[in-house]
Symmetry: C2
Subunit: 249 residues, 2 copies
Amino acid sequence: MNEEIADPSHPRYQSLLMRERISEASLKGMLADSAMIAHGRGEAFDYLLGEQTIPSALEATKEVAARLVKAKKPVISLNGNAIALAGREFLTIASQLDCPIEINLFYRTPQRMGALLAHLKLLNANLELDVEILGGVPDARIPGLEGPRAACQQNGIFEADTILVPLEDGDRCEALVAMGKEVLVIDLNPLSRSSKRGTVAVVDEVSRVAKNLIQLIPEKPKITKWKNSNGLQSALDHITETMSNQFAL
Amino acid sequence: MNEEIADPSHPRYQSLLMRERISEASLKGMLADSAMIAHGRGEAFDYLLGEQTIPSALEATKEVAARLVKAKKPVISLNGNAIALAGREFLTIASQLDCPIEINLFYRTPQRMGALLAHLKLLNANLELDVEILGGVPDARIPGLEGPRAACQQNGIFEADTILVPLEDGDRCEALVAMGKEVLVIDLNPLSRSSKRGTVAVVDEVSRVAKNLIQLIPEKPKITKWKNSNGLQSALDHITETMSNQFAL
Protein backbone atom coordinates (compact mmCIF):
# COMPACT_ATOMS: atom_id res chain seq x y z
CA MET A 1 0.00 0.00 0.00
CA ASN A 2 1.02 3.56 -0.68
CA GLU A 3 2.77 5.03 2.39
CA GLU A 4 0.72 8.19 2.22
CA ILE A 5 -2.48 6.29 2.98
CA ALA A 6 -1.15 3.82 5.56
CA ASP A 7 -2.64 5.86 8.40
CA PRO A 8 -6.26 4.78 9.09
CA SER A 9 -6.87 8.04 10.97
CA HIS A 10 -6.49 10.01 7.70
CA PRO A 11 -9.94 11.48 7.03
CA ARG A 12 -9.95 10.09 3.50
CA TYR A 13 -8.33 6.74 4.40
CA GLN A 14 -11.18 4.54 3.16
CA SER A 15 -11.49 6.41 -0.12
CA LEU A 16 -7.75 6.25 -0.73
CA LEU A 17 -7.73 2.55 0.17
CA MET A 18 -10.42 1.86 -2.42
CA ARG A 19 -8.45 3.82 -5.01
CA GLU A 20 -5.42 1.68 -4.20
CA ARG A 21 -7.45 -1.51 -4.64
CA ILE A 22 -8.59 -0.35 -8.08
CA SER A 23 -5.02 0.50 -9.10
CA GLU A 24 -3.75 -2.89 -7.95
CA ALA A 25 -6.54 -4.75 -9.75
CA SER A 26 -5.78 -2.79 -12.90
CA LEU A 27 -2.13 -3.82 -12.74
CA LYS A 28 -3.25 -7.45 -12.33
CA GLY A 29 -5.28 -7.27 -15.59
CA MET A 30 -8.61 -7.54 -13.80
CA LEU A 31 -10.09 -4.31 -15.18
CA ALA A 32 -11.06 -2.73 -18.50
CA ASP A 33 -9.39 0.54 -19.52
CA SER A 34 -12.45 2.50 -18.56
CA ALA A 35 -12.61 1.02 -15.04
CA MET A 36 -10.39 3.67 -13.47
CA ILE A 37 -12.48 6.43 -15.04
CA ALA A 38 -15.66 4.79 -13.75
CA HIS A 39 -14.10 4.61 -10.30
CA GLY A 40 -13.31 8.32 -10.47
CA ARG A 41 -16.93 9.11 -11.29
CA GLY A 42 -17.92 7.12 -8.23
CA GLU A 43 -15.39 9.00 -6.10
CA ALA A 44 -16.95 12.31 -7.10
CA PHE A 45 -20.44 11.21 -6.07
CA ASP A 46 -19.12 9.72 -2.83
CA TYR A 47 -17.37 13.00 -2.11
CA LEU A 48 -20.70 14.79 -2.56
CA LEU A 49 -22.33 12.32 -0.14
CA GLY A 50 -19.60 13.05 2.42
CA GLU A 51 -18.05 9.56 2.00
CA GLN A 52 -20.59 8.12 4.40
CA THR A 53 -23.65 5.88 4.42
CA ILE A 54 -26.56 8.30 4.58
CA PRO A 55 -29.73 7.18 6.42
CA SER A 56 -31.75 6.53 3.25
CA ALA A 57 -28.93 4.35 1.91
CA LEU A 58 -28.94 2.28 5.09
CA GLU A 59 -32.71 1.82 4.73
CA ALA A 60 -32.24 0.71 1.13
CA THR A 61 -29.48 -1.69 2.20
CA LYS A 62 -31.84 -3.23 4.76
CA GLU A 63 -34.44 -3.66 2.01
CA VAL A 64 -31.84 -5.33 -0.22
CA ALA A 65 -30.93 -7.70 2.63
CA ALA A 66 -34.62 -8.54 3.14
CA ARG A 67 -35.15 -9.30 -0.55
CA LEU A 68 -31.99 -11.38 -0.84
CA VAL A 69 -33.02 -13.45 2.20
CA LYS A 70 -36.54 -13.96 0.83
CA ALA A 71 -35.42 -14.82 -2.73
CA LYS A 72 -35.85 -18.36 -4.02
CA LYS A 73 -32.88 -18.16 -6.36
CA PRO A 74 -30.66 -15.16 -5.68
CA VAL A 75 -27.42 -14.44 -7.54
CA ILE A 76 -24.71 -11.87 -6.94
CA SER A 77 -23.47 -10.46 -10.25
CA LEU A 78 -20.00 -8.92 -9.99
CA ASN A 79 -17.85 -6.99 -12.46
CA GLY A 80 -14.16 -6.17 -12.18
CA ASN A 81 -14.54 -3.04 -10.05
CA ALA A 82 -16.92 -4.72 -7.61
CA ILE A 83 -14.53 -7.65 -7.20
CA ALA A 84 -11.55 -5.31 -6.73
CA LEU A 85 -13.36 -3.17 -4.16
CA ALA A 86 -15.26 -5.78 -2.16
CA GLY A 87 -14.64 -9.28 -3.52
CA ARG A 88 -13.99 -10.64 -0.05
CA GLU A 89 -17.18 -9.17 1.37
CA PHE A 90 -19.34 -10.45 -1.51
CA LEU A 91 -17.98 -13.96 -1.00
CA THR A 92 -19.06 -13.73 2.63
CA ILE A 93 -22.52 -12.53 1.59
CA ALA A 94 -22.87 -15.33 -0.98
CA SER A 95 -21.94 -17.80 1.73
CA GLN A 96 -24.53 -16.32 4.13
CA LEU A 97 -27.19 -16.61 1.41
CA ASP A 98 -25.90 -19.92 0.05
CA CYS A 99 -26.05 -18.50 -3.47
CA PRO A 100 -23.58 -18.31 -6.37
CA ILE A 101 -21.56 -15.34 -7.56
CA GLU A 102 -21.54 -14.79 -11.31
CA ILE A 103 -18.79 -12.73 -12.89
CA ASN A 104 -20.48 -10.57 -15.45
CA LEU A 105 -18.28 -8.30 -17.57
CA PHE A 106 -19.36 -5.48 -19.83
CA TYR A 107 -16.06 -5.64 -21.74
CA ARG A 108 -15.50 -9.40 -21.62
CA THR A 109 -12.13 -10.80 -22.64
CA PRO A 110 -10.83 -14.29 -21.80
CA GLN A 111 -7.80 -12.72 -20.06
CA ARG A 112 -9.84 -10.48 -17.79
CA MET A 113 -12.34 -13.22 -17.00
CA GLY A 114 -9.44 -15.56 -16.16
CA ALA A 115 -7.79 -13.01 -13.86
CA LEU A 116 -11.07 -12.35 -12.02
CA LEU A 117 -11.95 -16.05 -11.65
CA ALA A 118 -8.48 -16.77 -10.28
CA HIS A 119 -8.70 -13.84 -7.86
CA LEU A 120 -12.13 -14.86 -6.48
CA LYS A 121 -11.18 -18.53 -6.21
CA LEU A 122 -8.07 -17.61 -4.24
CA LEU A 123 -10.13 -15.43 -1.88
CA ASN A 124 -12.66 -18.25 -1.57
CA ALA A 125 -9.91 -20.60 -0.45
CA ASN A 126 -8.30 -18.05 1.88
CA LEU A 127 -11.63 -17.42 3.59
CA GLU A 128 -12.27 -21.19 3.77
CA LEU A 129 -15.53 -20.70 1.91
CA ASP A 130 -17.04 -22.84 -0.80
CA VAL A 131 -18.98 -20.28 -2.82
CA GLU A 132 -19.84 -21.32 -6.37
CA ILE A 133 -18.24 -18.91 -8.87
CA LEU A 134 -20.02 -18.74 -12.24
CA GLY A 135 -19.39 -16.73 -15.39
CA GLY A 136 -16.47 -18.58 -16.93
CA VAL A 137 -18.57 -20.79 -19.23
CA PRO A 138 -21.61 -18.79 -20.35
CA ASP A 139 -24.40 -20.91 -21.84
CA ALA A 140 -27.30 -18.43 -21.98
CA ARG A 141 -27.95 -14.86 -23.10
CA ILE A 142 -29.75 -11.92 -21.51
CA PRO A 143 -32.46 -11.02 -24.06
CA GLY A 144 -32.26 -7.52 -25.54
CA LEU A 145 -28.50 -7.10 -25.28
CA GLU A 146 -26.00 -7.46 -28.10
CA GLY A 147 -22.51 -8.92 -28.13
CA PRO A 148 -20.46 -10.41 -25.31
CA ARG A 149 -22.21 -8.29 -22.68
CA ALA A 150 -25.31 -10.52 -23.03
CA ALA A 151 -23.43 -13.67 -22.01
CA CYS A 152 -24.54 -15.32 -18.78
CA GLN A 153 -25.04 -18.72 -17.18
CA GLN A 154 -28.32 -20.67 -17.18
CA ASN A 155 -27.98 -21.76 -13.54
CA GLY A 156 -26.85 -18.28 -12.50
CA ILE A 157 -28.14 -14.93 -13.76
CA PHE A 158 -30.49 -16.44 -16.35
CA GLU A 159 -32.65 -18.38 -13.87
CA ALA A 160 -32.25 -16.09 -10.84
CA ASP A 161 -35.39 -14.46 -9.45
CA THR A 162 -33.39 -11.82 -7.58
CA ILE A 163 -30.05 -10.38 -8.59
CA LEU A 164 -27.69 -8.08 -6.73
CA VAL A 165 -25.85 -5.88 -9.24
CA PRO A 166 -23.23 -3.53 -7.82
CA LEU A 167 -21.96 -0.93 -10.33
CA GLU A 168 -24.10 -2.26 -13.18
CA ASP A 169 -24.34 -0.78 -16.66
CA GLY A 170 -27.70 0.90 -17.36
CA ASP A 171 -28.52 -1.16 -20.46
CA ARG A 172 -27.91 -4.42 -18.67
CA CYS A 173 -29.84 -3.33 -15.61
CA GLU A 174 -32.84 -2.53 -17.82
CA ALA A 175 -32.54 -5.86 -19.62
CA LEU A 176 -32.56 -7.73 -16.30
CA VAL A 177 -35.61 -5.79 -15.12
CA ALA A 178 -37.29 -6.64 -18.44
CA MET A 179 -36.68 -10.33 -17.68
CA GLY A 180 -38.94 -9.87 -14.65
CA LYS A 181 -36.25 -10.18 -12.02
CA GLU A 182 -35.93 -8.21 -8.82
CA VAL A 183 -32.84 -6.11 -9.53
CA LEU A 184 -31.01 -4.80 -6.47
CA VAL A 185 -28.62 -2.03 -7.47
CA ILE A 186 -25.60 -0.52 -5.72
CA ASP A 187 -24.60 2.73 -7.43
CA LEU A 188 -23.17 6.04 -6.19
CA ASN A 189 -24.93 8.07 -8.88
CA PRO A 190 -28.57 8.59 -7.87
CA LEU A 191 -29.33 9.81 -11.41
CA SER A 192 -27.94 6.78 -13.28
CA ARG A 193 -30.26 4.56 -15.28
CA SER A 194 -29.33 1.63 -13.05
CA SER A 195 -30.34 3.58 -9.95
CA LYS A 196 -33.59 4.69 -11.55
CA ARG A 197 -34.59 1.36 -13.09
CA GLY A 198 -33.56 -1.00 -10.30
CA THR A 199 -36.18 -2.47 -7.94
CA VAL A 200 -34.16 -1.16 -4.99
CA ALA A 201 -31.11 1.08 -5.45
CA VAL A 202 -28.59 1.72 -2.70
CA VAL A 203 -26.80 5.03 -3.27
CA ASP A 204 -23.63 4.24 -1.38
CA GLU A 205 -20.05 3.08 -1.87
CA VAL A 206 -19.90 -0.62 -2.70
CA SER A 207 -17.56 -1.76 0.10
CA ARG A 208 -19.61 0.09 2.72
CA VAL A 209 -22.80 -1.51 1.40
CA ALA A 210 -21.22 -4.97 1.39
CA LYS A 211 -20.09 -4.57 5.01
CA ASN A 212 -23.57 -3.41 6.00
CA LEU A 213 -25.18 -6.36 4.22
CA ILE A 214 -22.98 -8.78 6.15
CA GLN A 215 -24.41 -7.28 9.36
CA LEU A 216 -28.02 -7.10 8.15
CA ILE A 217 -28.54 -10.46 6.41
CA PRO A 218 -28.37 -12.53 9.63
CA GLU A 219 -31.09 -10.29 11.12
CA LYS A 220 -33.45 -11.50 8.35
CA PRO A 221 -35.29 -8.19 7.97
CA LYS A 222 -38.80 -8.19 6.46
CA ILE A 223 -39.43 -6.71 3.03
CA THR A 224 -41.51 -3.55 2.75
CA LYS A 225 -43.51 -1.87 0.01
CA TRP A 226 -40.43 -0.11 -1.32
CA LYS A 227 -40.65 3.03 -3.44
CA ASN A 228 -37.26 3.33 -5.11
CA SER A 229 -37.61 6.97 -6.15
CA ASN A 230 -37.95 8.08 -2.52
CA GLY A 231 -34.50 6.74 -1.69
CA LEU A 232 -33.00 8.37 -4.76
CA GLN A 233 -34.54 11.76 -4.08
CA SER A 234 -33.30 11.54 -0.53
CA ALA A 235 -29.74 11.02 -1.79
CA LEU A 236 -30.11 13.99 -4.16
CA ASP A 237 -31.47 16.10 -1.33
CA HIS A 238 -28.46 15.21 0.81
CA ILE A 239 -26.12 16.35 -1.98
CA THR A 240 -28.01 19.57 -2.65
CA GLU A 241 -28.01 20.47 1.03
CA THR A 242 -24.21 20.20 1.01
CA MET A 243 -24.13 22.53 -1.98
CA SER A 244 -26.64 25.12 -0.91
CA ASN A 245 -25.24 28.40 0.33
CA GLN A 246 -21.65 27.16 0.50
CA PHE A 247 -20.53 30.64 -0.37
CA ALA A 248 -23.33 32.69 1.16
CA LEU A 249 -22.32 35.89 2.96
CA MET B 1 -10.82 6.31 -32.20
CA ASN B 2 -13.34 3.91 -30.76
CA GLU B 3 -16.03 3.10 -33.35
CA GLU B 4 -18.80 3.68 -30.85
CA ILE B 5 -17.92 7.36 -30.51
CA ALA B 6 -17.07 8.16 -34.13
CA ASP B 7 -20.45 9.83 -34.63
CA PRO B 8 -20.31 13.53 -33.65
CA SER B 9 -24.10 13.61 -33.40
CA HIS B 10 -23.99 11.26 -30.38
CA PRO B 11 -25.22 13.36 -27.43
CA ARG B 12 -22.16 12.44 -25.37
CA TYR B 13 -19.67 12.66 -28.28
CA GLN B 14 -17.47 15.34 -26.72
CA SER B 15 -17.33 13.61 -23.37
CA LEU B 16 -16.46 10.27 -24.99
CA LEU B 17 -13.84 11.96 -27.17
CA MET B 18 -12.17 13.42 -24.08
CA ARG B 19 -12.22 10.00 -22.44
CA GLU B 20 -10.54 8.57 -25.53
CA ARG B 21 -7.84 11.28 -25.40
CA ILE B 22 -7.10 10.41 -21.78
CA SER B 23 -6.88 6.68 -22.57
CA GLU B 24 -4.52 7.33 -25.50
CA ALA B 25 -2.30 9.62 -23.42
CA SER B 26 -2.18 6.99 -20.69
CA LEU B 27 -0.99 4.38 -23.21
CA LYS B 28 1.72 6.81 -24.36
CA GLY B 29 3.07 7.12 -20.81
CA MET B 30 1.99 10.74 -20.44
CA LEU B 31 -0.13 10.23 -17.32
CA ALA B 32 0.21 9.13 -13.70
CA ASP B 33 -1.79 6.11 -12.51
CA SER B 34 -4.27 8.36 -10.77
CA ALA B 35 -4.95 10.46 -13.89
CA MET B 36 -7.76 8.26 -15.17
CA ILE B 37 -9.45 8.37 -11.77
CA ALA B 38 -9.11 12.15 -11.69
CA HIS B 39 -10.64 12.30 -15.16
CA GLY B 40 -13.57 10.22 -13.96
CA ARG B 41 -14.17 12.63 -11.09
CA GLY B 42 -14.27 15.43 -13.62
CA GLU B 43 -16.70 13.48 -15.80
CA ALA B 44 -19.11 13.17 -12.88
CA PHE B 45 -19.11 16.91 -12.23
CA ASP B 46 -19.46 17.67 -15.93
CA TYR B 47 -22.41 15.28 -16.09
CA LEU B 48 -24.02 17.25 -13.24
CA LEU B 49 -23.43 20.49 -15.15
CA GLY B 50 -25.11 18.98 -18.22
CA GLU B 51 -21.79 18.79 -20.15
CA GLN B 52 -22.14 22.42 -21.17
CA THR B 53 -20.61 25.82 -20.45
CA ILE B 54 -23.03 27.43 -18.03
CA PRO B 55 -23.42 31.24 -18.14
CA SER B 56 -21.40 31.89 -14.98
CA ALA B 57 -18.55 29.77 -16.39
CA LEU B 58 -18.52 31.83 -19.58
CA GLU B 59 -18.36 35.01 -17.48
CA ALA B 60 -15.44 33.56 -15.51
CA THR B 61 -13.70 32.56 -18.75
CA LYS B 62 -14.03 36.13 -20.01
CA GLU B 63 -12.49 37.37 -16.75
CA VAL B 64 -9.62 34.89 -17.17
CA ALA B 65 -9.06 36.13 -20.72
CA ALA B 66 -9.02 39.74 -19.46
CA ARG B 67 -6.47 38.98 -16.75
CA LEU B 68 -4.23 36.98 -19.06
CA VAL B 69 -4.23 39.81 -21.61
CA LYS B 70 -3.45 42.42 -18.92
CA ALA B 71 -0.72 40.35 -17.22
CA LYS B 72 2.90 41.49 -17.47
CA LYS B 73 4.32 37.96 -17.25
CA PRO B 74 1.67 35.29 -17.73
CA VAL B 75 2.42 31.56 -17.78
CA ILE B 76 0.22 28.59 -18.64
CA SER B 77 0.95 25.70 -16.28
CA LEU B 78 -0.11 22.32 -17.70
CA ASN B 79 -0.18 18.83 -16.26
CA GLY B 80 -0.63 15.53 -18.12
CA ASN B 81 -4.42 15.58 -18.21
CA ALA B 82 -4.59 19.18 -19.42
CA ILE B 83 -2.09 18.41 -22.19
CA ALA B 84 -3.98 15.26 -23.19
CA LEU B 85 -7.34 17.02 -23.26
CA ALA B 86 -6.42 20.39 -24.78
CA GLY B 87 -2.69 20.60 -25.52
CA ARG B 88 -3.34 21.95 -29.00
CA GLU B 89 -5.67 24.67 -27.74
CA PHE B 90 -3.30 25.78 -24.97
CA LEU B 91 -0.48 26.12 -27.48
CA THR B 92 -2.73 28.42 -29.51
CA ILE B 93 -3.56 30.45 -26.39
CA ALA B 94 0.13 30.73 -25.43
CA SER B 95 0.85 31.95 -28.94
CA GLN B 96 -1.96 34.55 -28.73
CA LEU B 97 -0.55 35.79 -25.41
CA ASP B 98 3.10 35.37 -26.44
CA CYS B 99 3.76 33.55 -23.17
CA PRO B 100 5.42 30.23 -22.27
CA ILE B 101 3.79 26.97 -21.27
CA GLU B 102 5.34 25.24 -18.27
CA ILE B 103 4.75 21.53 -17.76
CA ASN B 104 4.15 21.12 -14.07
CA LEU B 105 3.60 17.60 -12.76
CA PHE B 106 2.35 16.55 -9.37
CA TYR B 107 3.86 13.08 -9.79
CA ARG B 108 7.00 14.03 -11.70
CA THR B 109 9.08 11.31 -13.31
CA PRO B 110 11.68 11.84 -16.05
CA GLN B 111 9.77 9.42 -18.32
CA ARG B 112 6.45 11.21 -18.01
CA MET B 113 8.06 14.65 -18.37
CA GLY B 114 9.86 13.42 -21.48
CA ALA B 115 6.70 12.04 -23.04
CA LEU B 116 4.80 15.28 -22.38
CA LEU B 117 7.61 17.52 -23.67
CA ALA B 118 7.85 15.44 -26.83
CA HIS B 119 4.08 15.54 -27.33
CA LEU B 120 3.83 19.34 -26.92
CA LYS B 121 6.86 20.00 -29.12
CA LEU B 122 5.37 17.85 -31.88
CA LEU B 123 2.06 19.73 -31.63
CA ASN B 124 3.99 23.02 -31.65
CA ALA B 125 5.66 22.03 -34.92
CA ASN B 126 2.43 20.68 -36.45
CA LEU B 127 0.64 23.95 -35.68
CA GLU B 128 3.65 25.92 -36.99
CA LEU B 129 3.87 27.73 -33.68
CA ASP B 130 6.95 28.66 -31.71
CA VAL B 131 5.67 28.52 -28.14
CA GLU B 132 8.36 28.20 -25.46
CA ILE B 133 7.84 24.96 -23.50
CA LEU B 134 9.32 25.03 -19.99
CA GLY B 135 9.39 22.51 -17.17
CA GLY B 136 12.09 20.11 -18.35
CA VAL B 137 14.92 21.75 -16.43
CA PRO B 138 13.53 23.10 -13.15
CA ASP B 139 15.81 25.62 -11.42
CA ALA B 140 13.50 27.07 -8.75
CA ARG B 141 11.03 25.86 -6.14
CA ILE B 142 7.52 26.93 -5.17
CA PRO B 143 7.84 27.86 -1.46
CA GLY B 144 5.73 25.81 0.95
CA LEU B 145 5.65 22.60 -1.07
CA GLU B 146 7.75 19.51 -0.47
CA GLY B 147 9.38 17.12 -2.91
CA PRO B 148 9.32 17.07 -6.71
CA ARG B 149 5.94 18.80 -6.85
CA ALA B 150 7.64 22.08 -5.83
CA ALA B 151 9.94 22.08 -8.87
CA CYS B 152 9.46 24.93 -11.35
CA GLN B 153 11.41 27.24 -13.63
CA GLN B 154 12.67 30.68 -12.67
CA ASN B 155 11.68 32.28 -15.98
CA GLY B 156 8.33 30.48 -15.95
CA ILE B 157 6.07 29.83 -12.98
CA PHE B 158 8.46 31.30 -10.42
CA GLU B 159 8.54 34.82 -11.90
CA ALA B 160 5.04 34.88 -13.41
CA ASP B 161 2.61 37.48 -12.12
CA THR B 162 -0.41 35.59 -13.51
CA ILE B 163 -0.72 31.86 -13.96
CA LEU B 164 -3.38 29.79 -15.67
CA VAL B 165 -3.70 26.42 -13.90
CA PRO B 166 -6.15 23.92 -15.39
CA LEU B 167 -6.85 20.89 -13.16
CA GLU B 168 -4.42 22.03 -10.45
CA ASP B 169 -3.83 20.28 -7.14
CA GLY B 170 -5.22 22.20 -4.15
CA ASP B 171 -1.91 22.39 -2.26
CA ARG B 172 -0.08 23.80 -5.21
CA CYS B 173 -2.84 26.25 -6.00
CA GLU B 174 -2.65 27.57 -2.45
CA ALA B 175 1.14 27.82 -2.61
CA LEU B 176 0.92 29.86 -5.83
CA VAL B 177 -1.67 32.18 -4.27
CA ALA B 178 0.65 32.58 -1.26
CA MET B 179 3.40 33.71 -3.65
CA GLY B 180 1.16 36.68 -4.49
CA LYS B 181 0.29 35.59 -8.01
CA GLU B 182 -3.04 35.89 -9.76
CA VAL B 183 -4.09 32.25 -10.03
CA LEU B 184 -6.63 31.48 -12.76
CA VAL B 185 -8.16 28.04 -12.17
CA ILE B 186 -10.04 25.66 -14.48
CA ASP B 187 -11.74 22.95 -12.42
CA LEU B 188 -15.02 21.05 -12.77
CA ASN B 189 -15.46 20.68 -9.02
CA PRO B 190 -16.83 23.95 -7.60
CA LEU B 191 -16.03 22.71 -4.07
CA SER B 192 -12.35 21.89 -4.65
CA ARG B 193 -9.67 23.85 -2.84
CA SER B 194 -8.32 25.05 -6.17
CA SER B 195 -11.72 26.43 -7.14
CA LYS B 196 -12.13 28.10 -3.76
CA ARG B 197 -8.63 29.54 -3.44
CA GLY B 198 -8.04 30.68 -7.02
CA THR B 199 -8.35 34.35 -7.96
CA VAL B 200 -10.81 33.38 -10.70
CA ALA B 201 -12.11 29.81 -11.06
CA VAL B 202 -13.85 28.58 -14.21
CA VAL B 203 -16.13 25.63 -13.39
CA ASP B 204 -16.14 24.02 -16.81
CA GLU B 205 -14.51 21.27 -18.84
CA VAL B 206 -10.96 22.15 -19.82
CA SER B 207 -11.25 21.75 -23.60
CA ARG B 208 -14.44 23.86 -23.70
CA VAL B 209 -12.71 26.57 -21.65
CA ALA B 210 -9.64 26.51 -23.88
CA LYS B 211 -11.78 26.88 -27.02
CA ASN B 212 -13.68 29.78 -25.43
CA LEU B 213 -10.41 31.48 -24.42
CA ILE B 214 -9.18 31.31 -28.03
CA GLN B 215 -12.31 33.28 -29.04
CA LEU B 216 -12.20 35.73 -26.13
CA ILE B 217 -8.52 36.68 -25.91
CA PRO B 218 -8.47 38.62 -29.24
CA GLU B 219 -11.44 40.67 -27.98
CA LYS B 220 -9.19 41.96 -25.16
CA PRO B 221 -11.97 42.15 -22.54
CA LYS B 222 -11.54 44.48 -19.55
CA ILE B 223 -10.99 43.07 -16.07
CA THR B 224 -13.72 43.55 -13.48
CA LYS B 225 -13.88 43.52 -9.69
CA TRP B 226 -14.30 39.74 -9.65
CA LYS B 227 -15.86 37.91 -6.69
CA ASN B 228 -14.85 34.29 -7.15
CA SER B 229 -17.37 32.83 -4.70
CA ASN B 230 -20.28 34.18 -6.78
CA GLY B 231 -19.25 32.10 -9.77
CA LEU B 232 -18.79 29.01 -7.64
CA GLN B 233 -22.16 29.34 -5.93
CA SER B 234 -23.74 29.82 -9.32
CA ALA B 235 -22.24 26.49 -10.50
CA LEU B 236 -23.51 24.78 -7.34
CA ASP B 237 -26.94 26.30 -7.86
CA HIS B 238 -27.02 24.96 -11.41
CA ILE B 239 -26.24 21.45 -10.14
CA THR B 240 -28.77 21.59 -7.32
CA GLU B 241 -31.48 22.75 -9.71
CA THR B 242 -30.84 19.65 -11.81
CA MET B 243 -31.18 17.52 -8.70
CA SER B 244 -34.21 19.11 -7.11
CA ASN B 245 -37.45 17.22 -7.46
CA GLN B 246 -36.11 14.74 -10.00
CA PHE B 247 -38.46 12.17 -8.55
CA ALA B 248 -41.29 14.41 -7.39
CA LEU B 249 -44.82 13.11 -8.00
